[in-house]
């Protein structure tokens, strides 16, 4: 589904990603872990197509398409969803209006008619129930005045509505209390299928207790230095990152 | 005959007295022409819409007042109670006797001396304050021969505040008209604090037209405090123009607590990136008093900041005016400009006209202004009273709290406590607000 080969990217001439290799197949859950500043969020931004970052080398292929040729919205239409670490506020634009626009733009790109209002409302109700979201939420301006937890829940709600093939959850657990974490994780698990994939970017094991990864990758200084199964995450939780850094030292 | 007529009548004599270096003679003549063409502004002039000069101009002024004397006690009374460099002027003339410049790490010259010889002064005079559409600056530029030139050399940190004290002596029994010009050059990476005060010790209805041009070079830090608490017949038109180079900080705080008529034209010209301008003020006036603040921040380069905070409390039939203008040129991206003007009217006859104005030509900027007019919070009043605080004290406490933000930037502790006690006195209470 997603194949990343030797990806290098920089911002303002400072190289952040220094040769990333990653292969994500349908039905898989990948966790990318790493300390602050290791390049986790850069990776998600580069996959989503944020223009602040310059891709200097390597390739990204998504379902047979070269991502570098696609604008951010085209990547979204292709099925990439990024749950933002810091979702932005858009005053005056209601959640409903925003979602309606987003869904219908994606449909337009696929040559489909806009979704009938009735169907959309039905889908919204379903997904809201799934994420235990109150109805009043729909008419609020997007992310404006939302608490940290509401913002993250709103991200997953949008994901549920847009039904992406690949969901990248960037630090979705930060700012969530234990109940919200459970609800969000539960939502993600319910939406998971054999056809889609999830990449969880996180600092801590916490979220991985709820969303079980098939693969865990450690990102350090712009490179994936170690990969393993879910036990690697537990090991990291216990020992921190220092032992991997040490392990890397002789090579680097 | 009004002041305009009096000036035109004696213009050749005034021009002669002004004198100065050849280099500035042309400028003086030109300024005089500008003044003659434009005259004093009327309320039809947008910048004078709310402030009529008519009552000020119609007096019979003495344009060439001879210098009187002031006592040591009088000087002490109006100066900071602290170690300082002190420059005292009496009726426009420099008083060596009362001044104290011992071991000063900067150069001081009287304006006339400076304009006679000093290159730096000649390079500053008329370079920052424009004469077009600025009748008072034009008039001052044409005739001013009294005032100060201060030169703070590169890298110099002036440890003690510099006091600029302009007294009108008791000897003046008519209405004297003073034109004072200050030229201040704060060179690269210097640090300066100025305390400026104009005080009339007698009963005369003095009018001062003061123009101060301040050049703040790169990396310099410059603080200027103006305390305006003059006797009830005095009028002051203060024109202060500050030009800032990159990475400099300049602040002018204005505390307007007295006088009959005060007009402050305060302008900051930002000419280097990453500079910051601050203008804070407190106005607290009462019977027959008028204070008018006109500010301008001209953002011409990117990445700069400006901060304005003016608080006003008006009692009796006092009249307040605030006109803040923030101008952001299209080149001045990433400008951060903030302006706030809060006011309380306490009596039926008090009035206020305010116009916080923004003119923005760059898109990536953060500019905001806010303006409020209101009364004391009744809930807060009730809360204080329910704790046994009497009405007057409760009121004073809340008003004091209202002003406090604007006092926050005062770095001179002596000045801060002096202002606090003046404010307390004006609020009619004996409270120690430091508690």
């Amino acid at each position: 589904m997603l194949t990343i080969k030797n990806l290098r990217a920089s911002i303002e001439d400072k190289e952040i990603l220094k040769g990333i290799n990653l292969e994500v197949k349908p039905g898989e859950v990948h966790a990318i872990m790493g300390p602050n500043g290791s390049g986790k969020s850069t990776l998600s931004s580069v996959i989503a197509g944020r223009e602040d970052y310059e891709v200097t080398a390597g390739e990204m292929n998504f379902l047979g398409q070269d991502l570098s040729e696609l604008d951010p919205e085209e990547r979204a239409h292709a099925g990439i969803f990024l749950s933002f670490q810091y979702p932005v506020e858009i005053p005056g634009v209601s959640v409903t209006n925003f979602l309606k626009t987003a869904i219908n733009e994606s449909r337009k790109a696929k040559g489909l008619e806009p979704m009938p209002a009735k169907d959309m409302l039905k889908a919204m109700k379903e997904k809201m129930a799934l994420l235990e979201i109150d109805r009043s939420f729909l008419s609020r301006s997007i992310n404006e005045g939302f608490s940290g937890g509401e913002k993250k829940r709103n991200e997953i709600f949008q994901m549920a509505m847009l039904e992406p093939k690949l969901a990248i959850l960037d630090e979705t657990d930060s700012g969530l209390d234990i109940d919200a974490l459970r609800i969000v994780a539960n939502g993600v698990n319910k939406l998971k299928s054999q056809d889609n994939a999830v990449v969880v970017i996180t600092h801590y094991q916490r979220l991985l207790d709820h969303i079980t990864p098939d693969f865990v990758h450690v990102l350090l200084n712009g490179q994936i230095v170690k990969s393993g199964d879910k036990n690697l995450a537990l090991e990291l939780e216990e020992k921190g990152y220092d032992w991997i850094k040490k392990e890397q030292a002789p090579i680097g | 005959m009004d002041l305009n007529g009096q000036i035109l009548e004696s213009k050749s004599q005034l021009l002669q007295t002004a004198n100065g270096h050849d280099q500035i003679q042309d400028l003086r003549t030109k300024a005089m022409q500008v003044f003659e063409n434009e005259g004093f502004p009327t309320i039809k002039h947008e910048e004078w819409k709310y402030t009529s000069l008519v009552p000020i101009l119609r007096k019979n002024y003495s344009l060439t007042a001879s210098a009187g004397k002031v006592s040591k006690e009088e000087v002490e009374k109006y100066s900071l109670k602290t170690d300082s460099y002190r420059l005292v002027f009496v009726d426009g003339g420099f008083s060596e006797e009362h001044s104290d410049l011992e071991n000063a790490p900067f150069t001081f010259l009287t304006l006339s001396n400076a304009l006679g010889s000093k290159e730096e002064a000649l390079n500053l005079f008329g370079k920052i304050a424009p004469i077009e559409d600025q009748a008072f600056v034009a008039l001052n530029t044409a005739f001013a021969h009294q005032g100060s030139f201060l030169h703070i050399p590169k890298g110099t940190r002036v440890e003690k505040p510099i006091e600029l004290l302009y007294f009108t002596s008791k000897a003046q029994n008519e209405a004297p008209f003073f034109q004072i010009r200050n030229l201040i050059l704060a060179e690269q990476a210097s640090e300066t604090q100025i305390y400026e005060r104009h005080q009339n010790l007698g009963e005369s209805a003095a009018l001062s037209n003061v123009v101060t041009e301040i050049k703040v070079e790169r990396d310099a830090i410059y603080d200027h405090y103006k305390v305006q608490n003059d006797q009830r017949d005095t009028a002051l038109v203060d024109n202060t123009w500050v030009e800032q180079a990159e990475n400099s900080f300049a602040s002018v705080d204005t505390f307007s607590l007295g006088g009959r008529f005060v007009r402050n034209n305060l302008s900051f010209l930002q000419r280097g990136e990453h500079c910051e301008s601050k203008m804070y003020g407190i106005t607290m006036i009462g019977e027959n008093q008028l204070v008018d603040h006109h500010t301008l921040v001209d953002h011409k380069v990117p990445n700069c900041q400006s901060n304005q905070l003016y608080k006003g409390i008006y009692t009796d039939n006092a009249k307040g005016v605030f006109n803040g203008k923030v101008y952001v040129h299209s080149e001045a991206q990433k400008t951060n400009a903030f302006q706030q003007n809060d006011n309380v009217l306490l009596d039926d006859l008090a009035s206020l006209d305010t116009k916080p104005q923004l003119e923005i030509f760059a898109d990536d900027v953060k500019c905001s202004h806010g303006c409020t007019i209101g009364q004391l919070d009744e809930d807060a009043m009730f809360y204080l009273k329910s704790r046994g605080i009497r009405d007057k004290e409760a009121r004073a406490m809340l008003l004091y709290a209202f002003c406090m933000d604007a006092l926050a930037g005062v770095k001179l502790e002596e000045l801060k406590s002096k202002l606090k006690s003046v404010l307390a006195k004006k609020l009619g209470v004996e409270l120690d607000f430091d508690l």
Partner: protein, 483 residues
């Protein structure tokens, strides 16, 4: 840097779009000779078969106008119109007096259809009665009958002069006297038509009343006069739409609108103004110099809502005189300027009565080489005990060649007054656009979405049908590729 250029390009694209309503209807027109003098006025008056008092009133206004100078204090810059080069009266020539809409000239009907105000449809749609003023005269008023049953008078002002002279005489010029300003004086002298609306005591007008103004003939000026009177405890919501075809020379529009809200009455006045703004180089376009003012009696309320996207030059300050105690004034405005448009608009809230309250929400959006100014006055007089005002003036700049200006005048003569004024300037954040992009929304669409969100507080004030139209208009004004 490549990124910046790209962004500029997108901004450019989305802010460019040709004027949609720029078509010219080829209808034979009945014009009075060009130029302005007493004769012109006598001719207009005679053509309209006016009573003597009105002619006298006009001539008096003309005399005052001659003594006045065109105002130059606004933040707009334009070649002054040549008042002698304007046609002051241009009525579409009709074969006979219209009995019903079906008799309407087919070509004129087509014009209305192009404007999207198909009268046939409007008629069927519940709720909107339309009075269409094309160039200078009112050509059709729908729903008259139904309104008549309630005692509501809704007709052209010319008709009102004939049918209800006592009402017109009583109120005309009472809120905006002929000597009020240069354009008001001009309008008083030469006004050719406009709408008249009278809501009797205690009546709540069951439908939105709507007027559509249109300048069609080349070189004409439109000087319409609108008078709305809401008697005690009545309510009316009034809508006004404006378009003009694309023309190279500047066309002048100097209207006067007077509202009178008697005790406990409420008037809601909404405008969507889309006069031709000129082309991308700033050539042509309408000069829109309008005086709008409402007078509020005790406990009454006047609410102005405007969406201003058109005109080359706009000079307009819908105001409220809050004379009665407990009266309320509101002003909600969206003003979009693009290319070389200039708009100087805002409001005046004059608090005279006790416990009067006003709210001002102004949203300015500037793009291209345009300049947008908010100019407002909040005045609280000596007797206006406990008067309240809240003002919020925001501006959004798109690109770096436009200018946004805020001139709020606040004049307070009463210690019990409470005024809160806030203003901000901002731009559309790149992170907001990226967020939308990531959800599959293209940049142009994202800008439209964000701008509409930014204007929401104002758009919410419009009646539903108008809000939809206004939203589309915003999109058209700002988004070439999408609209």
């Amino acid at each position: 840097m490549a990124e910046m250029a790209e962004e500029d390009k997108v901004l450019n694209e989305v802010t460019q779009s040709e004027y949609k309503y720029g078509f010219y209807t080829n209808i034979e027109s009945d014009r009075v000779p060009i130029g302005l003098n007493e004769d012109t006025i006598r001719r207009i008056s005679a053509k309209k078969n006016e009573p003597e008092w009105l002619l006298t009133w006009r001539l008096e206004a003309y005399k005052r106008w001659q003594e006045m100078e065109e105002p130059d204090w606004a933040n707009v810059d334009y070649p002054k119109p040549d008042f002698q080069a304007i046609t002051y009266y241009a009525a579409p020539k009709q074969k006979k007096k219209l009995e019903s809409l079906d008799d309407l000239d087919p070509e004129m009907k087509e014009t209305f259809d192009k404007l999207g105000i198909s009268l046939d449809e409007q008629k069927r749609l519940a709720g909107v009665a339309v009075d269409v003023v094309m160039d200078s005269v009112s050509v059709a008023t729908t729903f008259k009958k139904k309104l008549g049953e309630l005692g509501i008078i809704f007709c052209s002002i010319s008709e009102a002069v004939q049918e209800h002279p006592e009402l017109v005489k009583k109120y005309l010029g009472k809120v905006v006297p002929p000597s009020d300003n240069f354009y008001a004086a001009l309008n008083s002298a030469v006004f050719t038509d406009g709408s008249f609306c009278y809501i009797p005591k205690g009546v709540r007008c069951p439908m939105e009343l709507s007027t559509y103004f249109r300048i069609n003939e080349a070189g004409t000026g439109q000087f319409e006069r609108t008078l709305v009177i809401a008697e005690e405890s009545s309510y009316v919501s009034y809508l006004e739409g404006c378009t003009a075809p694309m023309r190279d020379e500047n066309q002048l529009h100097a209207a006067v609108v007077e509202l009178i809200a008697m005790d406990d009455a409420e008037i809601k006045y909404s405008t969507v103004q889309n006069w031709y703004p000129g082309n991308k180089e700033g050539k042509g376009g309408v000069y829109n110099f309008v005086t709008k003012r409402g007078l509020c009696h005790t406990r009454s309320k006047i609410s102005w809502t405007q969406v201003e996207t058109g005109s080359a030059v706009t000079w307009k300050y819908p105001s409220c005189i809050l004379k009665g105690d407990h009266s309320v004034g509101e002003f909600y405005s969206v003003a979009v300027t693009n290319n070389y448009q200039q708009a100087d608009t805002g409001t005046k809230m004059i608090h005279i009565g006790k416990n009067t309250k006003s709210t001002i929400i102004s949203k300015g959006i500037c793009a291209g080489h345009s300049n947008g100014s908010y100019r407002g006055l909040v005045k609280m007089g000596k007797k206006a005990e406990n008067a309240r005002n809240f003002s919020q003036c925001d501006s959004l700049l798109m690109g770096n060649s436009c200018g946004s200006h805020t001139f709020p005048y606040i004049e307070i003569d009463n210690k019990t007054a409470k005024v809160e004024h806030e203003a901000t300037t901002s731009k559309i954040g790149e992170d907001q656009i990226f967020y939308c992009n990531q959800r599959g929304i293209p940049t142009e669409e994202a800008i439209a979405l964000i701008v509409n969100g930014y204007c929401k507080e104002v758009l919410n004030q419009l009646p539903m049908e108008f809000a939809v139209e206004a939203q589309k208009l915003l999109a058209v004004s700002l988004e070439g590729s999408v609209g």
